[in-house]
């Protein structure tokens, strides 16, 4: 199988324009003949559903939450990037493209990354027009701040709740279409399978989470905008319901999965404090604009942070990466924290944290200024930990966060299944092996607002004579029966261990052997252990409650069943990549001073994986990465 990325011809800065000029259109009168399913209502899903609804297509929008406004984009804190150069500090689309490509360790497609930077300009305009209350200068113009991995201020923000405000903008646009009848909303519905007819994506099977009813929905195209699968580690910064099931079911139906092992570990989350814990809360990376990160200079320090004098502190990011200091990219900052913690310099009751200290910024700018910038984050820290970060440093620690891997898509954001598109975090594109801060909201939004409406029209232009797709076909029946059987099988096990027990055990395995650092022996061990755990799950899990009613345990069980398979593939992927790049740090491949050692000669490609059946080994298909504009260089932030 040869992967065709469909990158348009022409110079980099003209590729997207060239594509749009030549893309096929659907006549407005024909759009109402075409049905589109959008799964997920985060930034990518809401913006896509709203935009396609506005254009006149019949759209069905699905989410598992009780309202589309709850999707996890709502929790993103720090900001959204756009190369507006409002600060006159030398920013440009090209510089943003270069920063993103370098930040991702040269493991993304040039054309995709450039397009994201290009569309960032429109996104800010769109969001402001929707009423997103971004931070403003006193003169009334938009303000910016800086994020990790860059040396300009290009991050637009709405206090520490940028994701919430952008999502509400997209949600409101979506609800406007719901009111007009162009979008039908199905909240509390979870996609459990993809239906393929004659090789094309033609619908989905969902479970109504209120009634337990299994429903069939048919369409001419299916969009998956379901976010990432970082919750596979159990302890992560993600919402409890975030999962990889929709994309995994699509993978098992033939869509390739790309780079599954690239899961970003965020450097600034709150540390784990006990076994009962269900998640690790993220503190925005924007805090690193004013906070200084340090650990005590001596091991096993027991003094309170404020009692440790300046000359007995190790500001290790400033020491190791003087050019970027506390704003070093996430992979670098996370690994540097792990290195200090593992070496015995960790702080806090479990010695698993580092300090993020605002005392200097408070002294220089005053408490009120810091409060205005980050007030809600300090409040959140106080609520969760009981400590006042205005008075003593925050304790922070790395934790699993964003999956750069996902369904393989071409330039049109179409998967290897015709008619199946993947947007936002559900696809693998744009971030390479490491995502720069504030690019997540951006990618999700531009995929939905500005890219999918063009590329899906290009696909649907050939579908106008297809006619209504019927959900009463053998393909739908077969998919529905398979879903019902899986649910019944899970209910029939009636074992002795809870779903959460399995999820936590799997998460710990992955964190230890396929987390911040990996090695060959550990990955091979993890694959064997995951297989054993999966077998045990299918023999000994206990799913309580009934099938035909609301049942949160059953929802979780289906997701964890998929996590075993995703976890195994993550380990396979990590095992085959004999290099260190971005979020993938193979211990065997590092420089003498502990930096990642990339191997462009052998690994300058995207790993796309094909499902070969329950007992088969996944098959690796390579998409070579060709760099015409920027030649990969050693990534240094020193």
């Amino acid at each position: 199988m040869i992967l065709d990325s469909k990158i348009p011809q022409g110079p980099l800065e003209q590729k997207w324009d060239n594509y749009k000029k030549k893309a096929k259109l659907v006549n407005p009168a024909n759009r109402k003949k075409l049905d589109i399913i959008v799964v997920g209502t985060g930034l990518a899903g809401s913006s896509a559903a709203a935009s396609l609804g506005e254009m006149g297509y019949n759209v069905k929008s699905f989410c598992f939450q009780d309202s589309p406004r709850r999707a996890h984009s709502v929790a993103a804190q720090g900001g959204v990037n756009a190369a507006k150069n409002y600060k006159n500090d030398g920013d440009s689309v090209y510089r943003m493209f270069a920063d993103t490509l370098k930040g991702g360790d040269f493991r993304a497609r040039e054309a995709n990354v450039y397009r994201m930077a290009e569309c960032s300009l429109n996104l800010i305009d769109q969001a402001v027009a929707q009423g997103v209350p971004f931070g403003r200068e006193y003169g009334g113009y938009l303000n910016n701040r800086s994020f990790g991995g860059v040396q300009v201020s290009r991050t637009f923000y709405a206090r520490g709740q940028t994701g919430q405000q952008l999502l509400l903008g997209a949600y409101q646009a979506l609800m406007r279409q719901v009111g007009k009848g162009s979008v039908q909303l199905f909240s509390r519905h979870e996609m459990l399978d993809l239906v393929i007819i004659d090789g094309k994506a033609r619908g989905i099977i969902v479970r109504n989470l209120d009634t337990g009813e299994i429903e069939r929905h048919a369409a001419h195209a299916v969009i998956l905008a379901t976010g990432g699968y970082g919750k596979i580690y159990y302890l992560s910064t993600l919402a409890m319901g975030c999962n990889g099931s929709a994309i995994w079911r699509a993978h098992k139906k033939g869509a390739l999965m790309a780079s599954p092992s690239w899961i970003q570990v965020h450097p600034t989350s709150l540390p784990q404090s006990g076994d009962y814990q269900s998640k690790l809360t993220l503190m925005s990376e924007s805090l690193r604009n004013d906070g200084r990160i340090w650990v005590p200079a001596k091991q096993d320090e027991n003094r309170a942070p404020n009692d440790i004098p300046e000359n007995e502190r190790d500001y290790y990011l400033e020491r190791r990466y003087p050019a970027f200091g506390n704003l070093a990219p996430r992979d670098i900052s996370s690994r540097a924290a792990k290195e200090r913690i593992d070496a015995g310099y960790g702080t806090g009751p479990l010695k698993n944290a580092v300090y993020l200290d605002f005392s200097k910024a408070i002294k220089e700018q005053g408490k009120e200024k810091i409060k205005e910038k980050y007030g809600n984050l300090f409040d959140m820290y106080l609520k969760i930990t009981g400590y006042d970060a205005y008075k003593e440093p925050m304790m922070i620690s790395p934790s699993a966060h964003f999956s750069m891997g996902g369904l393989w898509v071409d330039y049109e954001l179409m998967t290897t299944i015709p008619g199946l598109f993947a947007l936002g975090e559900a696809n693998f594109a744009d971030h390479g092996a490491n995502r720069l801060g504030a690019n997540s909201l951006l990618q999700a939004s531009v995929d939905g607002y500005f890219i999918a409406p063009y590329t899906i029209a290009n696909y649907l232009a050939d579908e106008i004579h297809t006619g209504k797709i019927s959900p009463d076909t053998p393909e739908f029946e077969q998919a529905e029966n398979a879903v019902k059987k899986q649910i019944q099988d899970l209910m029939n096990i009636k074992g002795t261990k809870t779903v959460d027990y399995f999820h936590k055990t799997l998460g710990k395995l992955l964190y230890d052997y396929c987390g911040l650092a990996r090695n060959e022996k550990g990955l091979q061990y993890a694959i064997q252990e995951i297989r054993k755990l999966k077998q045990e799950f299918h023999k000994d899990v206990r799913v309580s409650g009934q099938v035909n009613t609301m049942n949160a345990e059953l929802e979780k069980a289906g997701r964890v069943a998929d996590y075993f398979e995703i976890g195994e593939l993550m380990c396979y992927d990590a095992l085959t990549r004999n290099e260190s790049c971005g979020a993938h740090f193979r211990e065997e491949f590092q420089t003498p001073d502990g930096e990642a050692m990339r191997n462009d000669a052998e690994y300058q490609f995207i790993s796309a994986w094909k499902w070969t059946g329950e007992n088969g080994e996944p098959e690796l298909i390579r998409e070579p990465l060709i760099f015409e504009e920027i030649q990969p260089t050693v990534r240094s932030y020193k």
Binding site: V74, G131, P133, G135, L142, S278, K383, R542, M550
Partner: protein
């Protein structure tokens, strides 16, 4: 620490509910309230009982999905806090805690502690937006907004839609939720064009959903996790009267 829980159990919308007693021992005071419920559910599953259904997702205080009455208070005893951000250190060892779903005519119970808050979505759908299609926007700098106005609009836009305001109101009014969106939009130049139509449509939808009227007890602001001010309600009333007075929908 040990806790004695009295939890509302209700099979579905049509069934009658009742309070059921549960005891939990040896809990860590740093545990969040929802993690305590997770612990209870693990125990119930192992013992062969059905776990308690409750809504939650982000567990960071921002998605607005969690929410229950704890000892009669929406989201529990801590001010300006969602249930997921409440920790057991806010309770005493050995305390009895009463846990019930949000109660309001417009929020029917689905099961146990889960309620149906889709009425909020329908209120937004009736007018809580700026009518701008994708791709029509002018350059963002073309619409200057003063720092103070943007901050004020943000204060209203920060509503998470959890429904605590409704649950705590003796009339089950959605005035705080609706007014926060009306104020957010009315303050900004982008939202001004549709301000009259918006307030008339949203208030009409709020009434159609069987939310009660606001009688200015201000309990909603006290229990709001985001500290949304009742001044939003004053602005909604102003906008409503303005729209009626000028008798226009534009």
């Amino acid at each position: 620490m040990d806790l004695h829980l009295k939890i509302w159990r209700q099979k579905d919308r049509k069934s009658e509910g009742k309070l059921v007693n549960y005891d939990l021992k040896g809990l860590n005071p740093h545990m969040s309230f929802l993690e305590m419920l997770d612990t209870l559910n693990e125990k119930l599953i192992i013992e062969g009982d059905e776990p308690v259904e409750f809504d939650h997702d982000c567990r960071e205080g921002i998605c607005g999905q969690c929410g229950m009455m704890i000892n009669g208070i929406a989201h529990g005893p801590l001010k300006h806090t969602t249930t997921c951000q409440l920790h057991l250190r806010s309770f005493k060892d050995g305390e009895t805690i009463l846990i019930e779903p949000f109660k309001a005519e417009a929020f029917p119970v689905k099961k146990d502690l889960k309620v149906d808050r889709s009425a909020f979505d329908r209120i937004i759908s009736s007018g809580g937006f700026v009518s701008v299609n994708t791709g029509q926007a002018p350059d963002a700098t073309a619409i200057p907004v003063t720092h103070q106005t943007a901050e004020e609009a943000f204060d209203s836009a920060a509503c998470i839609g959890c429904g605590a305001c409704v649950a705590t109101c003796k009339n089950g009014s959605a005035a705080l939720f609706t007014s926060a969106k009306i104020t957010h939009m009315a303050l900004l130049p982008q939202g001004k064009e549709e301000r009259s139509k918006r307030v008339l449509d949203m208030v009409a939808q709020m009434d159609a959903e069987l939310f009660g009227h606001c009688s200015n007890t201000e309990a909603c602001e006290v229990e709001c996790p985001q500290g949304i001010s009742v001044l939003n309600i004053a602005r909604m009333n102003f906008e409503y009267n303005r729209a009626l007075f000028f008798n226009k929908k534009g």
